[in-house]
Point group: C2
Chain length 220, copies 2
């Protein structure tokens, strides 16, 4: 009966010798592990177990655990980008299309709001996305991007560019602005999922999110 429990996540035993798409299966298992459990839960042996394969098989597709982890992390970044784009699209519908300034401002808020929402609803993936040095910047890897082809950091940069184009943000304050905005929002996200705000109620968290975004807009 213990076996039954373990097999609950294991696939039906393969009939073919070859798996078919083990690489994909391992990444998917890794994503599932990261989703509930965060970065440390991405365990090579467990991933192979879920793929119904012996541990070493993973080494035909990844140099080591770290390589598998990087693939999972790319997926996490991509998921974050998707969440941000979704929020962006939703915001676009709420705002006067003929007011580019309002539109650009709404975009920046949507970026921040999407980021914060993702951190709170997909905490495991969020932690995984930032568990390791390197944060994409001008990394062109599409595996880290959303459907629009931009990764989270690039989405933020694009929103800031639109803010300048709309005349809301003076061009001379544009350089480096993504670092200020990202710092504030990312910091708040951590405070909420790990820090003193972890037990704050929803209203409080939303209010603080608003306030941070206001601070960014004002202080940029």
């Amino acid at each position: 009966m213990v076996t039954a429990l373990k097999l609950a996540v294991a696939p039906p035993p393969r009939t073919t010798y070859r798996h078919g798409d083990l690489r994909r299966a391992l990444i998917d298992a890794g994503i599932a592990l990261a989703s509930d459990g965060g970065p440390d839960a991405v365990v090579l042996r467990e991933a192979t177990r879920r793929a119904g394969v012996v541990p070493n098989a993973a080494y035909r597709h990844f140099a080591n655990r770290q390589a598998l982890f990087e693939a999972v992390r790319a997926a996490a970044l991509s998921a974050l980008a998707v969440a941000m784009e979704t929020e962006l699209a939703a915001a676009a519908e709420q705002v006067d299309r003929n007011d580019p300034a309002a539109r650009a401002r709404a975009d920046l808020r949507a970026i921040g709001a999407g980021y914060l929402k993702f951190a709170q609803t997909q905490t495991g993936l969020f932690r995984t996305a930032f568990a390791t040095p390197s944060m994409v910047e001008d990394d062109p890897d599409p595996a880290k991007a959303g459907p629009g082809g931009l990764n989270p950091f690039q989405l933020l940069g694009a929103a800031l560019d639109r803010l300048v184009a709309a005349g809301v943000l003076p061009a001379e304050r544009r350089p480096g602005a993504e670092y200020l905005a990202w710092s504030a929002v990312h910091g708040l996200a951590l405070l909420i999922i790990d820090g003193p705000l972890r037990h704050a109620d929803e209203a409080m968290r939303i209010a603080l999110g608003e306030r941070v975004l206001a601070m960014v807009e004002k202080g940029l």
Copy 2:
């Protein structure tokens, strides 16, 4: 000769059966491990090795690895508090003692600057301090505090209080202000040690630090 290498960090073999102060020795070893290597390098077996003791001996002083880790983390937070207090003291000498507003402003900047400096010079300890949920808040544990008895978060709160007292920050904006300030500065610290700013030169990092602190002051 391999042994010689390993013994380089091992203490001379004990002559007494009892260690004397194993708990302290384990924490110190843990701090050293965290210093260069970050949270994951805090390995129970390695700590006991450095203390010149068999692995299980640790369990007489800590319930498990996590408990040892928490003790190390407390020390890391305390070290951060010390760095902040040091910066605070240095700032106090540079500013006109009769201008409380300037003084309060300088304090807040010193808090932020000390925080950023610590993150960059003691990266392993910094990471360790924030590797785990919970961030002190009103935790009275003196092990997490500096010589003044306040932990990092409380130091920030006190600086904000002085800002209100000096009439720089309107009292109605005080509640929650520590979250905004902490978010921005902590976010920047991460950007610098892990993110796109990791290869930015010193001047750039200092400039961004200034800018974030300015944003906080303005946007609070």
